[in-house]
Structures are given as structure tokens and as C-alpha cells.
Assembly symmetry: C2
Homo-oligomer: 492 residues x 2
């Protein structure tokens, strides 16, 4: 499976920066060329948005962040890159001149991928010396969150190059969709363009405002399309009789005046004003950055529920996390410092962890401790592979003391001390700290090793027993934590 060590991104606008963020956070080194002196500043903002989103999106650790370097020319950025991503303005002449400069320094093996929304790859690759490795990889904003990349080859693109590039994008958590016939604007932007034109007619003719149109989407069919798309949704609208019934019922509408799209609205200054002003009225109260964060929060949570439901884009996230887990260096038990509690969990408190009291709800204190216990289990050898073989630890008892509060957006971390361990039992004590150092809570837990078939307690394997013994005996030398062995309502 092809992965990416070094990537080049040519053009650091909204799309280029999205690529940069996704690549960097996946451990890829990224060389960038953009003529604007403001480019590093804008890139930093998008990377920070992406870091915020990934902290909430992923339940597993990302690799170490790649190195970001701004280069002074297209050629300099393209040298040594495994893939060169072009995200410059939508003009054929500009794009073609960029490719010439890319080829002046790039390896002949390097993939060249255009982010164009609609220009045919056959036209793009016309002047290339090695056109077989050039294609369209059309992503969607925000590139660091949306999995789709439309992969479109031109007449001279090789099948092997499409496959290699698709592997590369899968390795950074994307869903490459190979479109087998070239057509301007490919699939998604053809659908989008038809909606966009219809929507402009509705605004132009004063039927509806931009806000009413957005509401007609996001309170209705937009919710369906996040998971099923057009045809599968309509299959259900056909009832038990499915798609054939639906299409027979609604086919005749093709003859009806249900869209304006036998024609294109004229692109006048007046229409631009109308749309821009209505959009200001609709969304102007929020800054672009605030809207971006809201969008990202929503996308992250939608992707996560789709993952929990094993569906659609959630499957891509699931595969991505599994790959990250595989790629994560095995826990190096020998290198752990056992002379202090072990760092077991860190996160930033998301909005949905807040309750009506305005702080992190008690449920999520236990969520932090539960994740910390999972980490301790993995450290002593009870990782996903071990569990897949039919044994695990179950929590049988927990005691939590709430000592202080934490608000949304603040960072927390957990460190864990092993109180005792041996045979089937593992007793741990978690400390939940605020990023400012305050101790927020403690959690004491008794875990019992079980057979997942019989659901009965049993002894772990030798490696696990040895590791628990090692941690447990080292942690005997630590100070007994305040509150260990405490019962609810016990006098101090």
C-alpha cells in the first residue's frame, strides 16, 4: 500500500490549506509554494482548526505531525515529493505552466494531482513530459474532514498511477472515488452546479432568500444526504416496492416545470448583490472563523455517529482509525518511567460534554477514567489484539471524587497509578488534571480479568501478569493517593 513521506502543495488557498492540514496531521512532511507573503499565516489558522477538529474526531493517536516548509518556487517545493498537489486558480493556462515547473524538479515517479473542480485531466496533462502520473484528485472543503476525493484520469493517465494515488489518499483517511469517464465538473460539482443554478433562480426571482433555501436543505433532505445520497434515499421513498416504483411514479415529473433549468440565470451585478446581502443578513452575525468551527464541530460529530452506526463516511473513519492504530508504534513497555504515575489520557472538553450547570458533566469524568483504564490495559498487554483473542478486563467497581470544575474548550489529562495487581485483579487510581495543573477529580477502579466467551473471571496470560507485577511493584514506592479506599460520605 502506497503511503506518503513528503508531499508538495502548490497554492495555499482554502483548498490548498485543507490539504496541508490533512497531510501534516497524518505525519506527512509538506513543502508548500504560494506567492502570497500572508500564506503561512493563513495556513496556520487552518492547521489550528484541523487540530481542534481531530482532537475530538479521533479516538486513537495521530502520528507525529509532519514538517511544514514554505518554499520559494514551485520547483523547489516539488523536488523530493511523493505527490505534488496543485491547488491554484481554475485557469487552464496557469495550471499548465505550474505543471511544467513541477516537472522541472519532481521525480518522474511522483504523482501530480490537480484539485480542479471541473477541468478535464486530458486537457490539463497535454503538455506534460510524463503525463501518465497526472490526474485529478478533487477534494471537498474542509479537506481535513470530508473524506471524498474524486479521482479522474485523463487519456494518458495510467491505471497504476490512479491506484497508487488512491492508496496514498486512503492512507491519510480519505475516500477516493474513481470516476471512470471524464466529464467537465465530474460528478459532485455537476450536481452542485445544477442546485446552485436553481438556487440562484429562486433568489433572482424573489421566490426565496438564501436563508430560506438553506433551511429547506438542512431541515429536510440535507439530513438524508449526509448518510444515503440521492438514489438510496429515493429507494426508500418507493416503499416496499423500491426504486422501480419510485422512478415509475416520479419519472413523469421530468416533463413538468419543476426546475428552471432549461436556462441559466444571468450573472448580473444585481444578482451578486442580492445573494451577498442576503448571505450577510443570514450569517453575518458569526465570523467566518466561528462558522468554520461550528461547521467542523458538526461534521466531526456527524462522522462519529456514522462511525458508531457503521455507515457511509463513518466506515472511512473506522478504517482510518484502524490503520492509525496499526501504524502506531507498539507500546514500548521497557521505556516507560515507572517511578511516577503513567500518563494515560488527554483531551479538550467538547461542547457536548457540558451540562445545564455549564461545566463538564459527571458522566464524562468517568469517560476520561474509562479511556485511561483502556490505556493502562493496553500498556500491560491487554490491547485490541489480545481482546480479539477472547479475554479482557471488566470494571467491577469505581469511586469518583469531584474536586473542581472544568469548562468546554479547556484541556484535561489523566495520569494513573496502579494500587495493586495480581491474578485476576487490577486496582488503579486515576488523577484528572486541568491543563492549568488543578486536580479536577480522582477515580479509583477495580478491574477483573475475564474470558469473553464464558464472561467468567480468569487469569491473564503470563506477559500481562508480569507487566502488572512490574508496574504494581514500582508504584508501591509512590505515595498512596489522597482518597484511596474512600467510601461515599466517609468522614475525612
Amino acid at each position: 500500500m502506497s503511503t506518503i513521506q513528503t508531499a508538495a502543495v502548490i497554492g495555499a488557498g482554502v483548498i490548498g490549506n485543507g490539504w496541508i492540514a490533512r497531510l501534516l496531521l497524518n505525519g506527512v512532511n509538506v513543502n508548500v509554494f504560494d506567492p502570497s507573503p500572508e500564506a503561512p499565516k493563513h495556513a496556520a489558522k487552518v492547521i489550528s482548526n484541523a487540530e481542534r477538529a481531530y482532537a475530538n474526531l479521533l479516538s486513537v493517536a495521530l502520528p507525529h505531525k509532519g514538517q511544514l516548509s514554505f518554499k520559494s518556487s514551485v520547483a523547489e517545493a516539488s523536488a523530493n515529493a511523493d505527490i505534488i498537489i496543485e491547488a491554484v486558480p481554475e485557469r487552464l493556462d496557469i495550471k499548465q505552466s505550474v505543471y511544467l515547473e513541477i516537472e522541472s524538479s519532481a521525480s518522474t515517479e511522483a504523482i501530480i494531482a490537480s484539485s480542479t473542480s471541473g477541468i478535464l485531466p486530458t486537457e490539463l496533462q497535454v503538455e506534460l513530459e510524463h503525463p501518465e502520473r497526472m490526474m485529478v484528485a478533487h477534494p471537498f472543503n474542509p479537506v481535513y474532514l470530508l473524506p471524498l476525493a474524486e479521482m479522474v484520469g485523463g487519456e494518458k493517465t495510467s491505471a497504476a498511477a490512479i491506484e497508487k494515488a488512491s492508496d496514498m489518499l486512503e492512507s491519510i483517511g480519505m475516500f477516493p472515488l474513481h470516476i471512470k469517464k471524464e466529464i467537465p465538473a465530474f460528478i459532485a460539482d455537476r450536481l452542485l452546479e445544477s442546485v446552485w443554478r436553481e438556487a440562484l433562480w429562486l433568489v433572482n426571482d424573489g421566490i426565496a432568500t438564501t436563508e430560506e433555501i438553506d433551511d429547506a436543505i438542512r431541515y429536510g433532505f440535507g439530513l438524508r444526504w449526509a448518510q444515503m445520497g440521492l438514489f438510496e434515499t429515493y429507494r426508500l421513498a418507493g416503499g416496499e416496492a423500491g426504486m422501480r416504483h419510485f422512478i415509475s411514479q416520479f419519472g413523469p415529473c421530468l416533463e413538468w416545470p419543476w426546475t428552471h433549468l432549461m436556462d441559466v440565470p444571468e450573472f448580473t451585478e444585481e444578482l451578486v448583490d442580492k445573494v451577498s446581502n442576503q448571505s450577510d443578513e443570514q450569517s453575518g452575525a458569526h465570523s467566518i472563523r466561528a462558522l468554520e468551527q461550528k461547521r467542523d464541530d458538526n461534521l466531526v460529530d456527524i462522522l462519529k455517529v456514522l462511525k458508531d452506526n457503521r455507515w457511509g463516511a463513518g466506515n472511512t473513519l473506522q478504517t482510518f482509525e484502524e490503520r492509525l492504530t496499526e501504524n502506531t508504534a507498539e507500546i514500548n513497555f521497557e521505556a516507560l518511567d515507572l517511578n511516577q504515575p503513567i500518563e494515560t489520557y488527554t483531551t479538550i472538553v467538547p461542547q457536548k460534554w457540558a451540562d445545564y450547570n455549564g461545566h463538564m458533566n459527571e458522566t464524562h469524568y468517568l469517560e476520561c477514567f474509562s479511556n485511561a483504564a483502556d490505556k493502562i490495559m493496553a500498556i500491560v498487554g491487554v490491547d485490541k489484539k489480545y481482546i480479539a483473542k477472547g479475554n479482557s478486563f471488566f470494571t467491577v467497581e469505581t469511586h469518583i471524587r469531584h474536586l473542581d470544575e472544568v469548562l468546554v474548550g479547556e484541556g484535561v489529562r489523566v495520569s494513573t497509578q496502579v494500587i495493586s495487581g495480581g491474578g485476576k485483579k487490577l486496582q488503579v487510581f486515576h488523577f484528572l488534571y486541568h491543563q492549568d495543573g488543578r486536580l479536577l477529580a480522582t477515580g479509583e477502579q477495580m478491574l477483573i480479568h475475564v474470558n469473553l466467551e464464558s464472561r467468567a473471571a480468569c487469569n491473564p496470560n503470563e506477559l500481562v501478569i508480569d507487566r502488572i507485577a512490574a508496574v504494581s511493584s514500582a508504584h508501591q514506592n509512590l505515595v498512596a493517593p489522597d482518597g484511596v479506599g474512600r467510601a461515599v460520605a466517609q468522614k475525612l
Copy 2:
């Protein structure tokens, strides 16, 4: 605010049944006419889907389910209804004859609402005696989950009738969107029709299959549209410069061949076959019912995360739940039986509560106890109103014993015993039971009454003190629960 006591639904297909389910579960009595002898069977399936979805969707209780009656004529169904919803086939002549029969028995005050996807209300109401109360209320499948209803009046519809009908739909959790100018197919179906035509072209011309088109939507822009719609999404694609930049950049595309829609694909038998066969290939492995449940699970979870994020369709759900809470009879403290633990929480374990061990994760045991504690607080007078005035209870300590397991889809309930209470303190003991009677876990908690301004402990008001004293002294007579006062790892 207008609410609905009794509704009539004429036509029990996919849309009619969706209306029936939403109305019934909101406590409305529904009289139905449909000529098919199979109608009650099909309705029962949709109602069962809706009950399953609502159990997971709502964090508050629904009112008692309404009464469903199948009637033998349109006239009989329409008598005594506050609103008569027409969901018969999309033919003007059929719809008009239904309206005549509705008017033969309906109150002149009753709202008549058509579910048409595109016929103009002015045409629909032409022959009515009281056309001022007739309009389009166009819902989206599944009607019991998607909040949108496009409200469109005809030339003779009164503004008061639109407002009354909108209030009625809001009272059953919907988002009525008033479309102020009549146009065939209104807003949403014009957008959908333009996408549908473009998608049919893509299939017709062999550019993409139904599955590839669905994937191009649901791995990409569909995820955006669930929350922001078209214009707000594009505002962000414009970067800091917003909509004006976006539209100036992409306006010229209107001249480009980025959609086929200067023309309509011919609706041939061959195209019907192609679409139906591809759809079978794509989705045929799942039954329609399985797909419906998957769709509902996804929609429920997407609506819930949007609620948590205070955004879009989540705001409608939030308002709906607040209304349900208001309408729930005040807790009648005097009527509580204090000779036993108090029933405080009940739910069905959702998929996402499961962990890699295949059972409900420990975090959600505490979530159940936390919800139970909220209920106890509300019972002793610390409800939303009380908290809004600046005081609440915070949990300071929790002890959980895990005694048995529970799997996804199984029911659980919590009952709670007050161990002690007085002054700032409230000590409770929760029992989590499986629907089959097994005790799954116990949770002991110490809550402290605090001032939300100073975050310091303080005494509750007199009513709260009196109620805590009453429950606490009654519960002194109960047997002390097994495990009360226990510490982690304490010997039995």
C-alpha cells in the same frame, strides 16, 4: 398557540403513514381514510419504526399516544378533525375531489393541508367553499423524523390559516418554512429535481452508477448540507472574504458546461431499467425495512448531535423537547409513593453505548445514574426553573458497583433511594435494573447544593429542604441497600 387534538389523514402511503406516526406519538388522535385493506398493516410498520426512533431521539417523555382509527370514507375521517392532511396521489383531479368530500363533513374552521410535492395551492383550492383554510404543508420522508414542512398558501389562503397550521406543526416538533411566493415544486423539490435530472443524465450516459453518485454525495457535500445548506457552506468556501468572494469566483461557471441541464434526459424504459438495476446492485442486499431502520438510526443520531451543538435542525429538536417538558404534568410530589425507591430513569441501550467488549460501556452506567440524579433533583424542586434562578446540586462523590452486563437494544431502568439529606447534602443510592429484572449495577452519590454564581456550597430553599426531609425520612424505613458505604476493593 394552536395545537391539534384530532387530525385526519387521507391517503396512507409512505408520506401519509409518516404523518400518522408523528401525530400519534405526539398524543394526537388520528382518523385515517385509505381505500386499501392493507393500509392498517402498513401504517403499523411505520408507527413501529417511529416508536423505535423516538425512543432513542428524545431525552424527555412523549405524551400518551393518540388513538388511531381507520374510517370508511374521506368524509367520515374528516369530521371533527382540527386539521385534515391530504396525502393522495399527485393528480389535481383526484386531490380536488378529495377536498370536496372533506368539505362535506369537516368543520369550516378546520385546516386542510395538502402534502403535494409540487402542485400549486391556488390550483388545488379552486373548487373549495372555504378555500381560505387550505394550503400546502409539504413534508419530507421520513415525516416522523425530518422537521421540515414547506408551507405554501394559494391566492385565497388567509395569513391567519398559515399561521395556525404552522403553530400546529410546531407543536408536533416540525419546522414549518413559510414560502411566500407560489412556484411549482416550491423550494426543496426544485433543488431535488435539478439534482435528480443531472443524476439521471450521469447514469444515462454511463458516467457513473447510482452507487457512485450516492457516494459522491454522502462522503462529501451531503455531510455539509445536513447542517449548513448551500449558501452558508459556500460562504465558508470564500474564506475570510465570504460570499461576495465566492460568488465572484464561481459566478463565471454559470457559462460553463458544468451541468447538462439545458435539457432533460428522455424517460425511456431503458433508463428505468438501468437505474432500477443499479439501485438493486447497490442496496439490494438490505431489505427496505433494514435500510429504513439504518436511515432512522443515522437521522436520530445526527439530529441529537446537532441538538448538542445548538445548530440547525437540532434547534428544532431542542425547542420540541422543551415544549414536551412544559406540557408534561408538573411532578406531583404529594402523589409519590415514598414507601419504595423512586423510579427515576428508563431507556433502551443505544448502539453507541456499546464498547469493544460488546456491552454497555461503564461510562453510560454513570450516564444512567446522572440522569436519575437529575430526576431526583427535579422531584425535590431543583428543576430547570430553580436552576435558572442560580442554584443547583453538584455531584461530589460517586461509587459504582458493576454486577451484571447489558447489551445494545435491551431496556434498563433506574430506581433511587435517598440515604440521607439535610442542609446542603443529599446522599442517594441508585439501582440500575435490566428489563428482565436483573440488578445490573448500583450507584451511590453525594450531591452538594451550590450557588452557581459563587460556585460555593449553600443551603437550598425551604421547599427543597422540606421535600428532601420528607423523602429522606420515608426512605429511612427502607432496607439499607447492599453495598451502601462501600469503598473500592473493600472485603465483603
